[in-house]
Amino acid sequence: MHQQAQLRMKKDEVERLGAEVYVVLAMDLHRTREFKEENLLLSRGTGRFSKEKSLVYATALSDPAGYASAVYGVARKCLRWGAWVENQPRWFVIDYRGTITFVLEPKFDTPTAYERDVDLVLEALRSARAEK
């Protein structure tokens, strides 16, 4: 959710790049819809996103059996709140030829790590666009 909140702040840049962004949840459709439409997590705090209704700019995709998540190597790795069904977060960038050009595993190691991660993804999208 943090990554998505950060991405939404830079959606103009995504649109300038003519790029498309998807966010995949290894969860049923209801949870995916809640993730997309409701700010259930950050609304509980007092931070900059606490008053926002929805934080997710990307197209949200439900991967209920975790197939895509397994193929992309991120499935069933972490316990967390979902107790094993959630994904280990990871970014992938794909160029015009359909080739994966960039992979980033967020570390969540600092309070502002999300900004750096999204900047790196945007940079990878810029490169992917330039290679057309």
């Binding site: 995949v24 993730f35 997309k36 995709l61 439900s62 975790g66 197939y67 316990l79 990871r90 994966i100």
Partner: protein
């Protein structure tokens, strides 16, 4: 020749002479060398995924109901999840017991989630919102909404698992490789296939956890 065929078949039918009871997916899950514990974060996940598919697709309801009382919490949890996805209304009382009294939060999560999929026991789901564990409470809130919905989420899950998964395709998405294709549902329920959007724009995909 005929006599030889009978002898070979007989060899496999005589106990202790080369024939063995096939191991069920649930039993294989019980014997996982790396169950879904924190310390196994990056180990054995492919086997966990593959067996989850096998347990659900095998749909051995009798074994799954028995497994709700298994001493291993990971086995109770996968059985609870499978029974909800399989729409087994006969397991509702046992799932209710797990929601109310299982000492492991990961089992209570899967049990309350399944009551949501089965659209039964709204009062139990409501009470689970007050569970001492934040994860159980969170999933119970979502299950309470699912109970009221007309959408058959369990059917969607069954259809998704029914496609199966091969171990050799897992983890194949790597830099310089073609992006593996997959299907999904958009948040408004429309089918999506990655290959239909490749080549038109540069694409970023984020595989998210709910809180990441």
């Amino acid at each position: 020749m005929h006599r030889m065929t009978i002898a070979v078949v007989g060899l496999f039918l005589v106990p202790g002479a080369g024939w063995a009871q096939p191991t069920s997916p649930l039993e294989k899950y019980r014997r996982l060398p790396f169950p879904a514990k924190d310390e196994n974060f990056a180990k054995g996940w492919q086997e966990r995924v593959a067996l989850e598919y096998e347990v659900i697709n095998a749909a051995d309801l009798k074994a799954l109901r028995l497994a709700l009382k298994d001493e291993d919490p990971f086995v109770r949890a996968i059985a609870a999840r499978a029974l909800g996805i399989l729409g087994d209304k006969d397991s509702v009382d046992a799932l209710t017991d797990l929601v109310k009294a299982d000492k492991e939060y990961l089992v209570r999560i899967r049990a309350v989630e399944s009551l949501g999929y089965l659209k039964m026991k709204p009062e139990v789901v409501q009470s689970a919102i007050k569970d001492r564990d934040g994860g159980v409470s969170w999933v119970a809130k979502l299950a309470a909404d699912q109970l009221k919905s007309d959408t058959d989420y369990a059917k969607q899950l069954r259809e998704a698992y029914a496609t199966g998964i091969k171990r050799e395709v897992m983890g194949t998405a790597k830099v310089s490789n073609p992006a593996p294709d997959f299907t999904a549902l958009t948040s408004d329920g429309k089918p999506f296939r990655l290959s239909t959007v490749l080549g038109k724009k540069p694409i970023a995909i984020y595989f998210a956890a709910y809180d990441g």
